[in-house]
């Protein structure tokens, strides 16, 4: 991550549970804005678009226009940067082993 203000956009975007659930919805496949609205029937279209804007400004979602449709893709890079910042490639193995231990004990 390059600057604290860019990072801030990422962490603030992730701070809202509804936006984390939107990223979950985009994990498997990109979705059109219409499909995303259908996946979150409790929210009106305007609210969905506002959350998408926050995610897009943070670089967590990349939008692609195809005809009249807007396809929203999850961008994994800011997530990877969080991992890299505090874990990094060398500690990843240890973190994985600890997670396995926790899951066995839990």
């Amino acid at each position: 991550m390059s600057s604290e203000s860019e990072e801030d956009l990422v962490f603030k975007a992730l701070a809202a549970p509804i936006r984390r659930r939107m990223l979950d919805a985009l994990k498997a496949d990109p979705l059109t804005t219409g499909a995303l609205c259908e996946a979150f029937p409790d929210l009106d279209r305007c609210t969905v678009m506002q959350h998408l804007k926050v995610l897009e400004d943070a670089g967590l979602v990349i939008a692609q226009k195809r005809g009249r449709e807007r396809w929203n893709h999850l961008n994994a890079l800011p997530i990877r940067d969080i991992h890299e910042r505090w874990i990094g490639p060398y500690a990843a193995y240890a973190a994985e082993k600890m997670a396995q231990l926790r899951d066995r004990l839990g």
Copy 2:
């Protein structure tokens, strides 16, 4: 991560730049609360301890008492869980390649 409220503690803890910098300070080695106060001379001890409490409640810091000293350790597990949630082991290689490409182009 087990529940949305537990996750919320993690993302709210990470949402403050000062707490992210504290985790940076703990990345290489655990620090006593005193050493952490010295590393953040702009903050009084009480403020440092409040931030540590938020990080500890989120599971991002694990405190260990040794005599009269309190050693603060970075706990990588919640960070790994964020990575796992949206990237996972299968997409990690692709995310790594994309990051390398970005860094070459940037």
